[in-house]
């Protein structure tokens, strides 16, 4: 049962398939950290990103690169629309975070239903075939999807952390995350930073959905379910802690897959909710690792209190 090849295969495949979850979780955690929004409407960004790529590649037989570009453009466009016509307006009206959350939830469902009307409900994939050829590396089967997905994810995550640490806009994002009012006092345009954050989330989401849709079937409602994993990773990893979120997404994927070697497989999905429950009850600020972050400290938005944002 615990043979090395089995464990190696589980580790490798889980690592490869967790790439999409990592990107979804990072996008969600970033918006929560900087914009202080539980962006459930990320599901809408994911949905339009996937169906844009599906339209270009799956329906119009366009090249893969054009499908990728379409996914990125559609996700970013959705993110910009959401920020300018949704979150920014609600922020100016001083809407409570619960109201913003409900708005995001409604948008995600609305987009799912619209996409359902246009594309139907049949599960779709970007490429006609779900099967990726496999190469055996020792005892481990490595599919042709695995390595590019891992490489793209590593580059994207590194780019986000690099952007936050070294770019002017990234540093402003951290400042806004730390204290939005103080940041504004020092001349940082909060609205612009919120928009940039959503654009970065859109880029991550577009990439993630292109990767996901090239190996799995997607239905209009699928993004909402995928997002639950990202939310779980964000909470367990520690709200506001981007590194923790990324690490949690990877670990959760591996633990879920490896768990079937120890527990009945029907408990596999339940495990995520057990972790989530335990994290919320015992570690409401997330499971914190020893402090050594890539980004500067930002106070975590509260899960419990309804914090109105100052002008």
């Amino acid at each position: 049962m615990f043979s090395l090849p089995i464990l190696a295969q589980i580790m490798w495949t889980s690592l490869a398939t967790s790439t999409c979850s990592v990107l979804f979780a990072l996008a969600f955690a970033l918006v929560l950290k900087v914009n202080r929004v539980f962006n459930f409407a990320q599901a809408a960004m994911m949905t339009v990103g996937f169906y844009a790529a599906f339209t270009v590649v799956g329906l119009a037989n366009g090249p893969a690169w054009l499908g990728f570009a379409a996914a990125i453009v559609a996700s970013v466009a959705m993110a910009i629309l959401l920020e300018i016509f949704g979150f920014r307006v609600l922020r100016r009206r001083r809407a409570s975070s619960m109201f913003v959350f409900i708005f995001a939830l409604v948008v995600s469902e609305l987009v799912a239903y619209l996409v359902m009307l246009v594309f139907g409900t049949w599960p779709a994939t970007i490429f006609p075939s779900l099967f990726w050829p496999v190469t055996l590396v020792g005892p481990v089967a490595v599919s042709q999807w695995d390595v590019p997905a891992l490489a793209a994810t590593i580059v994207a995550v590194a780019a986000v952390f690099g952007f936050l640490r070294y770019s002017r806009a990234g540093q402003f994002m951290i400042a806004v995350a730390d204290n939005p009012d103080l940041a504004e006092f020092y001349g940082i345009a909060k609205d612009r930073i919120h928009l940039i954050t959503m654009i970065v989330a859109g880029l991550l989401t577009g990439l993630a959905m292109f990767l996901y849709g090239s190996r799995a079937q997607v239905q209009p409602m699928a993004s909402i379910e995928l997002l639950l994993f990202a939310i779980a990773a964000t909470i367990i990893g520690g709200i506001g802690n981007l590194g923790g979120t990324v690490l949690t997404a990877v670990v959760l994927g591996i633990v879920q897959n490896a768990s079937v070697l120890f527990i009945p497989s029907e408990w596999q999905g339940f495990l995520l909710y057990i972790f989530l429950f335990l994290a919320i009850v015992f570690f409401p600020k997330g499971i914190r690792l020893p402090e050594r972050r890539l980004t500067r400290t930002a106070p975590a938005p509260s899960l419990i209190a309804d914090e109105p944002e100052g002008a």
């Binding site: 049962m1 089995i6 295969q9 589980i10 495949t13 889980s14 398939t17 939830l105 469902e109 239903y113 359902m116 139907g120 409900t121 049949w122 599960p123 994939t125 006609p128 075939s129 779900l130 099967f131 990726w132 496999v134 055996l136 089967a141 599919s143 799995a216 079937q217 239905q219 409602m221 379910e225 995928l226 994927g253 879920q256 897959n257 490896a258 768990s259 079937v260 070697l261 009945p264 497989s265 029907e266 596999q268 999905g269 339940f270």
Partner: protein, 381 residues
Amino acid sequence: MTLHRRTLLGGIGISALAVPVARAQSAAFRFGLAMPLTGGQATYGQDQVKAAQWAIEDINNAGGINGKPLAAIVLDTQADAQTGIQAATRLASVEKVPAFVTAWSEVVKAVAPIANDSKVVELSVGANSADIAKLGDYVYTTFPLAAVDITAVARYAATTMDKQRAAVLYINNETGTVAAQIYRDVFTKAGGKVVAYEAYDPKATDWTGTLLKVRMALPDIIHIQGLVADTPQVIAQMRQLGISQPISSYSAIYNPKLIQQLGPAANNVIATSLAPGVDNSPAVKAYVERWTKEVGREPNGLPYTQYLYDAPYLVAAVFKSLDDKKIPITGENFRKEMLAIRTFDLPLTGKLTFADDHTVSKRVYLMRVTDGAWTQLAVVD
């Protein structure tokens, strides 16, 4: 919160989708058609409703029922129990139809009390949960329940294919668990041994751990009881992990799209069909050609649409018999007359006889992917 919102949307959908034409035709013989027109299962539901509507057109073009038209009140269930209850309540209490057709096990079960209390015949056409046989006096199925095709495929694997060790992989919902148990019991009784019996979460997107457990058990054949959305992905991942054994499943995956999605990895996949195919029946061939001509493609879930096409013919036969005998059209009379006729000869699925336990038995067509195409492997009576 999601459930309530969906329920609300479903309610709006029901109001919008009710066919007012039927009410205008007061002389028409009316029955209900409660199917998923929106939601995750709408791809199947919409094609099934189209098939039923074609049948109604064909019946009416051929003179209707003693010169009167047949009409359907079409309502959306979203394949959801709550929305299905709203639809069935409306059909029984407002539209006052004597019978209605519905599908999806969850919906069929949820609306059964309404059918029984209102004395309206509920015809389940496409759901295959074994429990449907025990839902009450007014609930009947025209579609063979899971035991029929799962029994056939399990017995065929153990006897004709001479497989000794089977692995069973099933989705952890009611459809999956019940069918998996049937496969395990039949395969074992036929002399085989089930060496792995693994469930997976309906929301799973990666099955590596479970599949490796199956691989370690060294089965001769693997039976997958999943849904149309997940089964192709499970098979793809299975082949990617080097699991090359023959795979069997059931009617949900009998679809040309599976071959497109899996390419060579689809070879040696066996599915069941509970209706004759184009090679077995000229009527089915003409029906598929009609789809290609009018819609530009084959229907999603061809066998299911065949049963839906046939359902209005069954309903029309009962109406005609009642009309011939000048018996009032009520649910009670509809049920009595349907059981009095009992055997119906239907255009696309052939002869149907209601058994005493409210079920039907049909031939099972085992289909296998060979060289990139579905070919008939065997017919099991």
